[in-house]
């Protein structure tokens, strides 16, 4: 059985995924998780969870293609470049008119 191990580095911090251990049962998972992730003072707490007990969700369908809900892929770079160019030409236009005066 595979067990997922989460560890907390310092009190008050969130537990983060550390890795996994293969173990015959909960007892073995407890001992192996301590050995791999806990006994050198690197963790203040561990969560050891059978992988089967984890509810995994990875089917985020987007059937109506509502990608406007997402912020990725928005071509900011091009817009920025254009804005900079406009700013530069406005500045030089100012300089020119100032020279004339």
């Amino acid at each position: 059985m595979i067990y997922e191990v989460f560890r907390q580095e310092r009190k008050g911090q969130p537990l983060q995924h550390a890795g996994s251990v293969e173990a015959a049962d909960d007892h073995f998972a407890d001992v192996y998780a301590r050995e791999q992730y806990g006994r050198r003072g690197e963790s203040t707490a561990l969560w050891v969870v059978a992988r089967d007990a984890v509810i995994e969700i990875d089917d985020f369908v987007d059937e109506l293609n509502r990608n406007y809900h997402r912020v990725d892929g928005y071509p900011l770079k091009e817009k920025l470049r254009e804005a900079r160019e406009r700013a530069v030409s406005a500045k030089s236009a100012d300089a020119l008119s100032a020279g004339k005066g």
Binding site: F28, V31, R34, R39
Partner: protein, 197 residues
């Protein structure tokens, strides 16, 4: 520190060194990766305990831990025969581990009561690491309990475990010790005479 205490410490140190060596023979080939890491770590701890014990005795005898560990001849070692066995069967290895930890817990309790604060302190320190070993041994015991192969291994090895707690029973070494000694001291014996480390 009187001679009696020194020889007790030396017996335990020899047990820990030789068992650590034997256990480390599973490094890389234990039943699964997690066990490989756990058992190798136990082997390393045992050798660390041996070193600490040798250091105490070495100071009393005006020598060094390395000299005690490696410069005696095989028949001068005081280890119990059970730790010398080269066990190629995992069930037997776990049976010995379980029996050893059982006995080790008893003798560490005795040492913790020592009048010598240094001895008692070291025993307490060692015991804190041994707690992990006992959890590990117990976990395997619970899992393998009822398996015929494990039961047979326990029956076979249990009589030999008695020597771990009784100096009188530490007599003859097994025929396996000289080979192990050759292997264990090879690097040290290969240094040119007169070199100092």
């Amino acid at each position: 520190m009187d001679e009696k205490v020194q020889s007790t410490l030396l017996e335990i140190a020899d047990d820990e060194l030789i068992l650590g060596w034997r256990d480390s023979e599973w490094t890389g080939i234990a039943p699964l990766l997690e066990e490989d890491v756990a058992f190798s770590s136990i082997a390393q701890n045992e050798i660390g305990h041996a070193r600490a014990l040798y250091e105490l005795v070495a100071r009393e005898r005006g020598t060094t831990a390395d000299e005690l560990a490696f410069d005696r001849s095989p028949d001068e070692y005081r280890c119990a025969p059970i730790v010398e066995l080269r066990l190629l069967d995992w069930a037997q290895t776990i049976a010995r581990h379980y029996l050893y930890e059982e006995a080790d817990a008893i003798r560490l309790e005795r040492l913790k009561q020592s009048d010598d604060p240094e001895v008692a302190g070291l025993a307490a320190k060692i015991d804190r690491e041994e707690a992990y070993h006992r959890i590990h041994a117990q976990m395997w015991f619970d899992r393998l309990q009822g398996e015929a192969r494990f039961a047979a291994a326990l029956d076979e090895l249990r009589p030999q475990a008695a020597a771990l707690l009784d100096s009188e029973l530490r007599g003859e070494h097994t025929s396996e010790l000289p080979d192990l000694w050759e292997e264990m001291t090879m690097v040290r014996r290969s240094q040119p005479a007169g070199t100092k480390w």
